[in-house]
Structure formats: structure tokens, C-alpha cells
Point group: C2
């Protein structure tokens, strides 16, 4: 196995054990980027000399922390003090923040090497960037964390930061065949990340294993490093198709059925969860509240650089500006009621199994797909993870989504690891 | 009355009616600053030539919106595209953001003239800036929105933006004798405001009348301009001393008793609210969660500029870094339980009357005072306003705090106006 194909956990163990150097790991990732970037367009900024300098400094010092020497990709709406942060927009071309975002500073303090900035849809919206799906360049990688998901899928970097307001981490992860995680709302610090819609924004993670997600999540919250303890008994799984099920395409129906059948064979008890009617209006409330908040967050760009904003984002801002504050508050109130009530429907289950996306990655890169199946759980503030467990007939990856109870992120990750060990992972995307 | 002594509502009406020009209003504010700034130190940045340029542009165009020509002060942790934003810290000296914060862009779109940046405690923390109390320079103006409260109190500007994480809007407003308002959590957009503690941060407002607060709040949320309709009947008032009552100093006890007596004489029914024991632990949970979040938000500054961080803020960061994620989550869970339960205690009342601060402004400027009485309601996410209704024996202003129900901000402001009309306002601070 090449160094760039190793998981984050394997890499930090190999560096800590003196079996490889930080520079060798960085070189392997940079070599993969040099080989594949012209095809994938996952990166907004990579400066190999600077990366190797930072890796050399890590090699010359004692271990900083549990991420010592680990290369990480950073979505380009997240501030970096030593690399430009362009938000996927010509408005911020070459923009150099004064400081690292909190999440970047925290992983650097733990020894991580920032490999570069990954392509984001404009301001983490639906207006896409140039990235393609590494499994098939005729298809979208999803978005808005397009470059992070594609870079991790294409073995350019073992892990990357994304952000999710609707489905911007889980959807590209599902489309690209990697593990994507968005924690309980509020878990990771958001300082230095350009806001999209403040009631929904969260930092999330892309990696190729659940252990890697766990490793990074513990560093970000300040928890001491610890192995992920998988359950000793088969988990009880609630299957929730959600009120959006009519949008599930055959490959998503297939991925859910396939996962259910294999989990049952592995000893899981599966119980169908039917949510009451009030949840049918959740998606519309989420979309309205998001548009309202985004139109406010983009007030300066709208007033001064409107012609440089992508068409899809302009349309969302216009929709948001047309929403009256009373209707916005009504949407928030509806979402709060759903959040307050969801617990009774999901308690008693170790995890909820749900669709990850409408289907596999759609053709073309003009759209990054629809956020509804990820946004449903985002709006409920529940932790969620997607696992690449299936394939569409055209060979593209299809994920499942596992959802945990509020603030039970550690348990969600433990169950997800148990599940992932039993449902074959997709493997290396570029092998296809 | 001088132009700089007029309220925001009076100013925009006078400009709209053609009775004064935007330049004349700006000149009056700038003249007051020139006269008093050496004594008060309310401003981090004012460029008179640039302000007059902007006012001249407003005079030369048709009315942009309901704030046309209104001078506003902006707390210096809020980004401005054309003025430096130094966060009250040498670390960000001369720092020039790329864009206006959302709130700044929104009020500019409505016609406001940004007068300058007001002094903030370092990163909106407890580490104070140079501002003194305009009523008595031997006393703190409170913080962290020190300059905003002092500038409004000293008639330098009719209104200013502050932010509140614990008590950073209401405490300095109470100490300086102005009206201070923090809306229901999440109401105003936070894009472009340096985060302090993300579960608590809110944009707030300082002004000299409740109508002015209402005017600005409606612009910020995108509501159409409307007059504030005061209740036709005397409101039913719940008096809540809170479990922190032992910290109330004689002038706060006096301010509350005095307000209660005068409200009763004005026809209000007053009912004492005794919160159950669980609320006694709220303040400790708030302080712990705030310290944890602030220590993350300041990760870059801590790693790279530690020696330039003020002592009080360093101490808070150290406390925050020592809090384990499990204890942080337990604190958040406790706060969420209090939030979920508070409604039953305050419903049935038109407003809750509570202490605004421990007492009047303490002597010296090494501390900005304690945030507990403001932070209590901040942590409950309820809208709150302070009104300058009383005086300590040393002549310093003492406020009361009025608290509304969740998302009932419009009602809170209406009742506050009714109350303020019946309890004599302090008047012009510099007259004392």
C-alpha cells in the first residue's frame, strides 16, 4: 500500500512508530495530487514547497499530539493564516485571512500538516466549483464540500474538513464513496469559517474509515485520544425512510435494502420508524430558514459584488430576501418543535438507518445534487455519518446514512464502525 | 437640542423631512467626539473626513431606506470593509477585513452612516479597553461593548452595535445609563463578527430610546418599518430576583424596588417569580460552557500570539482548556433543560422585571464588572432590554432589566416602551 492510500490512523501510528517520516507521507500525497489533480480539480490551493517545509518541521520536533504529521485538506471557506481563502468565489480571489480558523489551529496544535485548500461551491452554496467525481469525471462529486470529498476519495489526502448547512458533507461523501460525518449541532468550533446559515452550519469531516473520523473528532473537541470501542452485541437499528422517500432513486432504495438485509444477517434487529405527519413539512421549513439566513450572511457581497455571485446562489439569496421575518420565525419554530419531538421516535434504537442521498452522483457538474436527505437530519441537529456500502449499476458509489441521538456522537461512531466492518467498503475509488 | 442629542428616530425623521442634512448630523456627532473623546476614550477608529464623505453621498442620493443618514457606531469586533477591525487587541492592530459584517452591510443598505469603530474589551472578553464611564471617569463603563455604551451615553452617536455573550451589551448599558437590547438568541445575523462563545454570542443594540432599538431591530431582521405599538392596558409584571440575588448591591435592590413601586402605582399587577432550585446551577454551567467555547475560538491566537492576550482573557482560556468535553456537554445539557423549562415560569406575565447588574459601575477600569445578572437570561436565550431608570447615591446610573418570552421580541419592546414612559429616564449623562 502506498503511503497516500493509508488511513489517517495508520499514518499517525507509522509516524509515531518511526516507520515513516512526515515528509514521506506529505510527498506521497503531493505525488498523488500531481498525478491526478488535472483530472479531478479537487484543490483550490496547494503549495508543495510550503507543505514539505511544514512536514520537515514536524519531523524535526518531538510529537506535538495525536495528529503528528497527518496531512489534512481544508475546505476553502475555512480561514488559513498562511494560505489564501477564496470561498470558491472570484470576490475573494487571493484573500489572505489574518488567522487560522479555530479548527485549523486546533489540528495544527495536534501536529497536523495542512496539505492545502479544497474546492468549495461558492460560499458553501449550491453554485458549484470545477471538481469532478473521481470515479467518473462526467459526474458531480456533490457539494458544497466537493474538493474535500473528491480528494479523500482519490487518495490525495487521508482526511479533510468540510462544512454542512444542508447536506454539504454527507452528500459529496456518499457520491464519492468516502465516510462523511456531521456532528451534533454546535459540537465543533466555528470561529473562522464563513457562515452560510447560522442555525444550521456545522464543521464536518471526510475520511476513509470511521476510526479516522473518531480520531479527528476527539482532537477537535479536546478529548484525550482513545480507541473506538465497537459494541459487543449487534445493534438495534431503526430504519427511517423519512417523508422524503418518494425522492429516493432505485440505487438509494437498493442501498438501503441491501444494508438492511446484511445487517439482519449479521444479527441486528431492524424496526421501521414512521414519523408523524409534522415531519413532512420539515424540509420546506429548513429550506426557507436557510435561504433567509444566507441572504443576510451575504449582505455585503450582495450589495457590492452581486454580478460575481453564481446564478444558483443569487437565486437562493433572492428567495431569502423575499421571506418575511415572521415566516422565518415560523419556520424556526416548526423546526424546534420537530427537534423537541424527534427523541421519542428514535430512542430505543442504537442507530437510525436512513437514505444518504436521492441516488448516486448525477451526471454533469452544473448541479451538486439535492440536499434533502442530508438536510432532514441536519435540521434536527442530530449527528449523522454516511458509509460507502453500495454501488449503482453505473459503478458509482452509493452511501447509507446512520443517524445517532442528540449528543450521542461517540455511540454513533462506535455503531457505525460495527456496521462498516460488516458491510463491505467500496475500496479505493481510482481502482474502478 | 443639539443634533447629536437627538434620538435615532428623530434624526431619520428630520433628514427625511428635509429639516437637516446627513452632513449636519454627522458633523454634530463628530464635534461631540472631538470635544469629549480625550476624556471618554470610546472610539477605536474614527476618520472624520471619511464619515463626512459618506454623509455627503447620502445627501446627494434619494433615500436608501429607513436609516437614511443615521450615524451608527460599530463595536470593533465587527468587520468593516473600509475601516480597520482590531478586536481590542494588539494582535489585530490595523487589521483590515475584506468585507462588512452582515449587520453593517444591512444598515448601510438602509442608509446608515458608519461613524466609526467603538472600543471593545479584547475579543469581547473581560480584558478591558481604555474607555471610562462618561458619568465619572473614575469608573468603568462596563464591557465588553464599552465604547458603544459610552459613546451613546455621551451623545457622540445616537445608536451603536454591541455584542453579548454573557452581559456585554446590557451591563455597559446599565452602567452608562442607556437602553441596551439583546434579542432572542439567533435573531440577528452573526456573519463577520468575531466569535467569542458560539452557543451564546449575539449582536445587540445600544440607543437612548426604545423606539430607536425597535427601528434598528426591524431593519436588521428585514421587517418593514412600523411604529412600536405600546400596550393599551398596564402590563402584568413578573419580578424575578433570580438565584443570584445575594450578589445584588443596595443600588440594584433599590432600582428594582423603585421600579416595582412605580409600576404598581401606574396600574401594573406585580407577581414574584421564584425559580426552582435547578436554576441555581445555571450560572456555573454558563460560565463553564463559555470558557470552553472561547478557548476553542481563540485557538490560533493562543498558539501564536499568547503573550499579547490580556491577563483576564488568558485566565479564561486556561480555564476553558481545562474543561473536559464531557463536562462541557453536561453544562450545555443543563442549560438546555433550563431553557426548555423556563417558559412555564414566565408565561402569563407580559414581561419579567429582573436586576440588570450587581450594582452601579464599579470604581476603576481594570474590571468591567460581573456578567451574572445579564448572563442568566442570555443563557436562557430570552430577549432582554435594560432601561436606565435609577441612580446610585454616587450619581451613577442603575438600570433595570426587562425580559421577554422566547421570540416575543416585538412584545418585549412594546412593553419596555410603556414602562420607560412611566419611569423617568436618566436624561443626558453629561449633564451630571
Amino acid at each position: 500500500m502506498q503511503l497516500n492510500e493509508m488511513s489517517a490512523s495508520e499514518i499517525v501510528a507509522a509516524i509515531a512508530g518511526g516507520r515513516v517520516s512526515c515528509v514521506e507521507v506529505a510527498q506521497a500525497c503531493l505525488a498523488r495530487i500531481a498525478e491526478r489533480e488535472d483530472a479531478v480539480h479537487a484543490w483550490a490551493f496547494v503549495d508543495p514547497a510550503r507543505v514539505l517545509d511544514e512536514a520537515r518541521r514536524r519531523d524535526s520536533e518531538s510529537a506535538r499530539g495525536p495528529l503528528h504529521g497527518l496531512p489534512i485538506g481544508i475546505k476553502d471557506i475555512i480561514d488559513t493564516a498562511d494560505m489564501p481563502t477564496a470561498m470558491g468565489s472570484p470576490i475573494y480571489a487571493g484573500h489572505q485571512p489574518r488567522a487560522d480558523a479555530a479548527c485549523v489551529a486546533i489540528v495544527r496544535e495536534a501536529g497536523a500538516v495542512i496539505l492545502g485548500k479544497t474546492v468549495t461551491a461558492q460560499f458553501a452554496s449550491m453554485s458549484p466549483g470545477p471538481t469532478v467525481n473521481p470515479h467518473n469525471p462526467a459526474h458531480t462529486p456533490g457539494g458544497s464540500s466537493s474538493g474535500s470529498a473528491a480528494a479523500v476519495a482519490d487518495q490525495m489526502v487521508p482526511a479533510a474538513f468540510g462544512t454542512q448547512t444542508g447536506g454539504s458533507v454527507l452528500r459529496p461523501s456518499s457520491y464519492c464513496g468516502v465516510v462523511g460525518y456531521r456532528p451534533t449541532f454546535g459540537t465543533f468550533n466555528m470561529a473562522g469559517i464563513k457562515p452560510a446559515a447560522q442555525s444550521f452550519d456545522a464543521l464536518g469531516l471526510h475520511a476513509r474509515t470511521v476510526d479516522d473520523i473518531h480520531l479527528l473528532a476527539r482532537v477537535l473537541t479536546g478529548a484525550a485520544p482513545a480507541a473506538l470501542e465497537v459494541p459487543t452485541a449487534a445493534p438495534v437499528v431503526g430504519i427511517c425512510r423519512t417523508p422524503l422517500w418518494e425522492h429516493a432513486q432505485p440505487e438509494t432504495v437498493g442501498a438501503l435494502d441491501d444494508a438492511a438485509a446484511r445487517l439482519e444477517a449479521a444479527g441486528c434487529r431492524l424496526v421501521r420508524i414512521d414519523l408523524p405527519d409534522e415531519y413532512a413539512t420539515l424540509d420546506a421549513a429548513r429550506v426557507a430558514a436557510t435561504a433567509y439566513e444566507r441572504s443576510r450572511a451575504m449582505a455585503w457581497e450582495w450589495a457590492h459584488r452581486r454580478d460575481q455571485i453564481g446564478t444558483l446562489l443569487q437565486e437562493e439569496i433572492l428567495r431569502g430576501r423575499a421571506i418575511r421575518p415572521d415566516d422565518y420565525e415560523a419556520a424556526l419554530t416548526r423546526l424546534e418543535a420537530c427537534r423537541a419531538a424527534i427523541g421519542v421516535h428514535i430512542r430505543g434504537f442504537d442507530v437510525v438507518l436512513a437514505p444518504a442521498a436521492d441516488g448516486a452522483a448525477p451526471q454533469g457538474i452544473a448541479s451538486t445534487g439535492n440536499a434533502r436527505f442530508q438536510g432532514f437530519w441536519t435540521a434536527l441537529y442530530l449527528p449523522a455519518i454516511t458509509l460507502p456500502t453500495s454501488r449503482a449499476s453505473n459503478g458509482l458509489p452509493v452511501g447509507i446514512q446512520l443517524v445517532g441521538d442528540y449528543r450521542q456522537d461517540e455511540k454513533l461512531l462506535a455503531v457505525a464502525k460495527w456496521v462498516f466492518e460488516r458491510l463491505n467498503p467500496v475500496g479505493r475509488p481510482s481502482d474502478n
